[in-house]
Symmetry: C2
Subunit: 153 residues, 2 copies
Amino acid sequence: MTRKRFDEMGCSVACALNEVGDWWSLLVVKQAMLGTRRFVDFQHNLGIAKNILCNRLSRLVDNGVMVRVDVGEHGKRYEYRLTDKGRDLFTVVTALRQWSERWNGEKDTMQLVDRQSGEPLAPVTVQNQQGQPLTVRDVRFVDEDGKPLEEAG
Amino acid sequence: MTRKRFDEMGCSVACALNEVGDWWSLLVVKQAMLGTRRFVDFQHNLGIAKNILCNRLSRLVDNGVMVRVDVGEHGKRYEYRLTDKGRDLFTVVTALRQWSERWNGEKDTMQLVDRQSGEPLAPVTVQNQQGQPLTVRDVRFVDEDGKPLEEAG
DNA sequence: CCAGAAAGGTTGCATAACGAAACCAAATAA
DNA sequence: TTATTTGGTTTCGTTATGCAACCTTTCTGG
């Protein structure tokens, strides 16, 4: 019995979850955003089992989220770094972090600030073209022809 | 061997993933945002096994992301609806959707538009207090005292 | 009212994912 | 040279997942 495949459901959310939807992948990406690059550092900072970490890094590399860079003199020392695709997950990770802090309280000692001003970040929001924030009730789901979807039932 | 617990790692991202970090939870939430409320509708629209769906809905209710509302005349017909906490995941789901569309191409027939103007949404971004978009390189990670973190190693 | 279908689960079983620890080869440090 | 670090793989036991069958209560058609 293989896990349900999410990349053929015709849903981009499912497709994204197929790549980073397991328990560990986004945490590895988040850790990489903090500057971690070496296998052992991921292992110690996350408290993840070695085989799982090995598997996750391989999957992230296969999916183009990270790259394995050879930094050894004779080729047996590696670094794992984010690609542009991986760095682009910053929005997702930050939205998730803020959501957790809003609803579960401040459980994180770490804070993110604007490097230039030193001020904390603004809450991540969905916005329209004019930059006004939108809730899920302010949007409509339409198909490719622009017709509204009624797929509740 | 129980799964690694993410809610005691001192990381709000991990804490969030502890609640919605499995393969299915965010898809259930996304489906609820489309208007789905009934057990069988989730089942058919997602193609999820009944016991898994049952388990996920229970977990989402336990975590305050959804509520089970009794809609039967004599109490055996239910609806599952998003709470405010659940609706607040709209940002996360939308960021994930847009990320997937940017990097994996348009695999979704569905589009989100502003209900008022009918225009497509703006890309979700992390912003500073002035509303200027920030990448991961534009931010600094600091501890509670404002001192920069150097936890790469 | 009665038969059948539908809603919302639960249970059993087989397979896949996961975690901890042991083991291992190459490269580096002492 | 020996010890240690790095980046894994293997083994084994537990947990998660998928599928199908079953079960109870509630609608629905006649």
